[in-house]
Symmetry: C2
Subunit: 323 residues, 2 copies
């Protein structure tokens, strides 16, 4: 989407929860070219409201808020940029009403998340963790290790956008797994590549591994409800590298208690302490910090897209506008 | 290779270090059809020599010995089967002189080892181990995790037989890595598939990951000598899922001390205690029990090939003869 705007440089960029170190020297040079003044403030700093008064560009870090109160405090605001794909804490409808452009950073972590999913599947199947621990103690016996292979297994991919497709490609083309997918829109052009569209219930009842790659929106809230979570075949490895809002927590807790599936998640940082603590009790719930998207390559691409968005905006073409 | 033989059933099969449980019911039925008598003895049992007297078929487990003394104790011996790919503890030249057929089990673990190699690369790159440990303690921060991706990296594969090729295929076709290979015989027909033949020194100096898939033979003993190990590029992940006889231990120890590469091995069980203990001291040496070949699928295939070898022999065509 492109949008004509009338500036060639920002008067003042306010960085919230972001520092020069987050960007690096080369990237800061690019930013310096398109602004007259820069102010860096940590998250929740009391000066934020005062600093917003003459800010025309607000840049915030992942998961941070840009609400009505903040937008009202910044009468000159023209642009909000978030250094993340998700922007659900930005009041986009209020920003629209004020003709403020909001840009996010999509797609930078496709490879990172896809490779992470393959990694956690293999780590789980081959018990790499237990194996290393045992060898570290000087016990080199293999008799208790009976891993399984990916080749020939059935993988269910729920949500078949960029990341879902990449996971599917690696598993099917690389490893020789059978890929079933579900997506709101059936993608017939992809089906010649060996991906089979299936109803969700079929996937849940047939797959050996299920991996979710839906984006979080109103219509995907608790997409995995009690009914769907009950349908998952015993013995299945269920992986969610998407936000935990997709999952009904009572349902997953109930199923984990039954101890017949393994659940892996990595959006642990966004959960309420009481919720994550409930899941932590289960041995068959494997919790990661949010590292699915964390690779050096993804981080470089993320910063590049984030700054490109700014550069395009000042050169009158907004990139990755969400509103 | 086929070999005409003159029996339709074995008179007596002596199993060493193998029990009925190692095979399972269906497999034992197949064995019962082709022998008149079965005797099971554990490894190092004092009865072995006496039992060998009237044995015409000796079946031994992985890593076990069948030497001149044992062969001399079994004047009726016609067949030695080992439930493994490697057979370097069988005196094959003496067996040949006595016209004894020796069969091994090749190729059963191609997929298992290839997937294990991908697993250990991803586990290492993404620090899955440390991430899980940290989350288990209730710390869900991601800031210290800066993984790397496989896509775009250069992988060096030394030894390009069945396993090496499978590792190469998954990494190149699936993940989008660049694959350089070295093999005693250059395999030009494979090069159209995106595998680049390179001199060893080039691979060692250029690859981000090196994985060795040479078989252990007289000419590969300490193939990775001081000179080669010194050439490995700093920062490289060096993986050996083949026997440790391929590696000069002093050289790898010296390089690990320098702390600029990471070495992963899984043939820990075959090493002398003093040797493995030396390597265990290094944090940049990741030791696994020998689980590379351990999957349920590989185990099923292994037993199937092992029994097929016997069936083919009694039906006058030996399969997988090594002599």
């Amino acid at each position: 989407m492109t949008n004509k705007v009338d500036i060639s440089k920002f008067e003042k960029i306010l960085f919230l929860g972001l520092s020069e170190i987050d960007f690096g020297e080369k990237e800061m040079k690019r930013i310096n070219k398109i602004c007259k003044q820069k102010v860096f403030l940590p998250k929740n700093n009391p000066q934020i409201m005062r600093q917003l008064r003459d800010t025309d560009c607000l840049l915030i870090n992942q998961g941070m808020v840009a609400d009505k109160k903040m937008i009202d405090a910044a009468p000159k605001l023209k642009y909000i940029g978030i250094l993340a794909t998700g922007y659900n804490r930005i009041d986009t409808s209020y920003a629209t009403s004020k003709k403020i452009t909001v840009c996010n950073v999509p797609g930078y972590a496709t490879e990172a998340v896809a490779e992470f999913v393959i990694g956690v599947i293999l780590d789980h199947l081959r018990e790499l963790d237990r194996a290393k621990k045992q060898a570290r103690k000087g016990d080199y016996s293999e008799t208790t290790f009976n891993g399984q292979q990916i080749k020939g297994k059935t993988i269910g991919i729920i949500g078949f956008g960029r990341i879902g497709q990449r996971v599917g490609y690696i598993l099917s083309e690389g490893f020789g797994a059978k890929v079933l997918y579900w997506s709101r829109k059936r993608k017939k052009t992809l089906e010649s590549k060996g991906f089979t569209y299936s109803p969700i219930a079929d996937i849940l009842m047939r797959a050996n591994f299920i991996t979710t790659h839906l984006s979080y929106a109103r219509e995907t809230l608790e997409f995995f409800d009690m009914k769907k979570i009950c349908l998952i075949k015993p013995g299945t490895l269920f992986i969610n590298t998407a936000p935990m809002e997709l999952i009904n927590l009572k349902a997953i807790e109930k199923r984990l208690k039954k101890n017949d599936i393994t659940f892996i998640l990595d959006h642990s940082d966004e959960m309420k302490p009481q919720d994550i603590n409930k899941l932590r009790r289960f041995k068959n719930c494997i919790i990661y910090p949010p590292i699915g998207f964390r690779t050096l390559e993804a981080n470089m691409l993320k910063k590049d897209i984030f700054i490109s968005n700014l550069e395009h905006y000042v050169s009158k073409k907004a990139l990755n506008r969400v509103i």
